[in-house]
């Protein structure tokens, strides 16, 4: 699981503290910084990669110009509202945030909302990862680790030597690993092969 980084922009000390204590108990979460002033918040955002912003209603209203100039920030924003009853006067921007928390929420609700969000993010990131090997490439890495040459791999998989070479090249550039010994260790720690199955190299 990739670490998700949070920053908080909340006026009330007590509420901030409460949220931080919940966040710190979640797996794969790191709270980078807490803010109540706008300037340092904006400059922090410019210089640090942040996954989520939790911001209270008052802060959100004060920073509405920032959100208008950088609408992509909405995708990171978790809005903390006073109560769900006030949803009636929904602004144009507010519908687009990925999650909303309410001051009246119980701990379980808050944890659940945040966990759903993180789960969704993890699903997306595994889907989009170009680093992942295709099933065919995984097979080839396995055979390379067992000590087979490109020619032997070609015969075994009924491929041309040229096709195997192309796969090897793609594997190299996806993983950034060129050597057989490097691929072997990669295969072991990714459970593609066991140490017992690895060829005993000369």
């Amino acid at each position: 699981m990739r670490i998700a980084t949070f920053i908080l922009h909340i006026d009330s000390f007590i509420i901030r503290l409460g949220l931080v204590s919940i966040l710190n108990r979640l797996q794969g979460v790191r709270v980078l910084k807490e803010f109540k002033a706008n300037e340092s918040f904006i400059s922090f955002l410019e210089n640090h990669p942040v996954d989520y912003i939790i911001i209270d209603q008052a802060g959100f209203d004060r920073l509405v110009n920032l959100y208008i100039s950088k609408p992509e920030l909405l995708e990171l924003t978790i809005l903390l509202k006073d109560s769900s009853l006030k949803d009636l006067n929904k602004g144009v921007l507010r519908g687009d945030v990925p999650a909303t928390l309410y001051l009246t929420d119980e701990k379980e609700t808050i944890v659940q909302t945040l966990q759903n969000l993180l789960q969704h993010r993890d699903d997306l990131s595994t889907k989009n990862s170009s680093e992942d090997l295709s099933p065919r490439e995984t097979t080839i890495v396995r055979l390379v680790s067992m000590g087979l040459t490109n020619r032997q791999i070609a015969e075994k998989l009924f491929l041309s030597a040229h096709t195997v070479m192309t796969h090897r090249k793609n594997i190299n550039s996806k993983l950034g690993i060129k050597s057989v010994s490097g691929l072997t260790i990669y295969a072991i720690v990714n459970n593609i092969i066991t140490i017992e199955e690895v060829s005993s190299l000369p």
Binding site: N47, H48, S181, G182, V189, I195, S200
Partner: protein
């Protein structure tokens, strides 16, 4: 954030992670009460540049960029070169020696030992190839670009090269050197049988972790600071010549 007025000894006392930076800037210990600024100036080091690198090094989340863009490309190139030298002369031999010692004292099977030693030998070769590609091709190109950009009329031959080559080609091929070390670390803590010599094993893991972190920072300097600045300068030089 480290400050130029602070005594250097205190900075290093409180931030031992900065130790590997010292040889890179050729800063010798025995600081006495001298401030960061004094130590840097005594050694002919640009204090602002040192502070920028040291602060980036301490703050995991700091993305180098803005601060470093104040310095000339040649300052950055020489920092990159001295970092390479630190890897070749100090960091790699240090961890290699420990790995070999750990293997020779372990109860691992022959196969397991050769798995690790073959890996490290090949890793070293790939590592050296990575560095020499940068030292022999990329960094000289960056210096040449900086030199040409300072001239009223850049060399036509160089302009011709610029029309077909861009630093983004380097970026595309630029491998992450820390990835394989992470695999080795994982192999040791998860898949190999436990080592008798715990002290040595921990030292190996500590060295690997420190080197990985260093390599991440180094690649950031190359990818996030050097490449964008070089790309800007390429565009500038090209646009200037096309309007002549």
């Amino acid at each position: 954030m480290i400050n130029r007025e602070w005594p250097m000894y205190r900075v290093i006392l409180e931030n031992h992670q900065l130790l590997p930076l010292l040889p890179r800037f050729n800063l010798k210990m025995g600081f006495g009460e001298l401030s960061v600024d004094e130590v840097c100036r005594n050694h002919g080091v640009n204090t602002d540049f040192f502070l920028e690198i040291a602060n980036a090094y301490l703050d995991e989340l700091y993305v180098p960029g803005e601060g470093l863009s104040l310095f000339s490309l040649s300052t950055m190139v020489s920092y990159i070169k001295s970092t390479h030298k630190y890897y070749i002369d100090i960091a790699l031999p240090m961890v290699e020696e420990k790995i070999n010692r750990l293997m020779s004292r372990s109860a691992l099977s022959k196969k397991e030992i050769s798995l690790v030693t073959n890996f490290f030998n090949d890793y070293k070769k790939d590592f050296m190839a990575h560095l020499s590609q940068e030292e022999e091709n990329i960094l000289p190109y960056v210096l040449e670009l900086e030199r040409q950009s300072a001239q009223d009329l850049p060399d036509p031959e160089f302009i011709q090269k610029l029309q077909t080559y861009s630093i983004h080609e380097f970026e595309k091929e630029h491998d992450r050197l820390e990835t394989s070390l992470k695999h080795l670390y994982e192999l040791i803590i998860k898949y190999l049988p436990p080592f008798e010599d715990l002290q040595l094993c921990h030292q190996v893991l500590n060295d690997l972790a420190a080197l990985m972190k260093d390599l991440v920072d180094h690649a950031d300097v190359e990818d996030k600071v050097l490449v964008p600045r070089v790309a800007d300068l390429e565009a500038l030089v090209l646009s200037r010549t096309s309007t002549v």
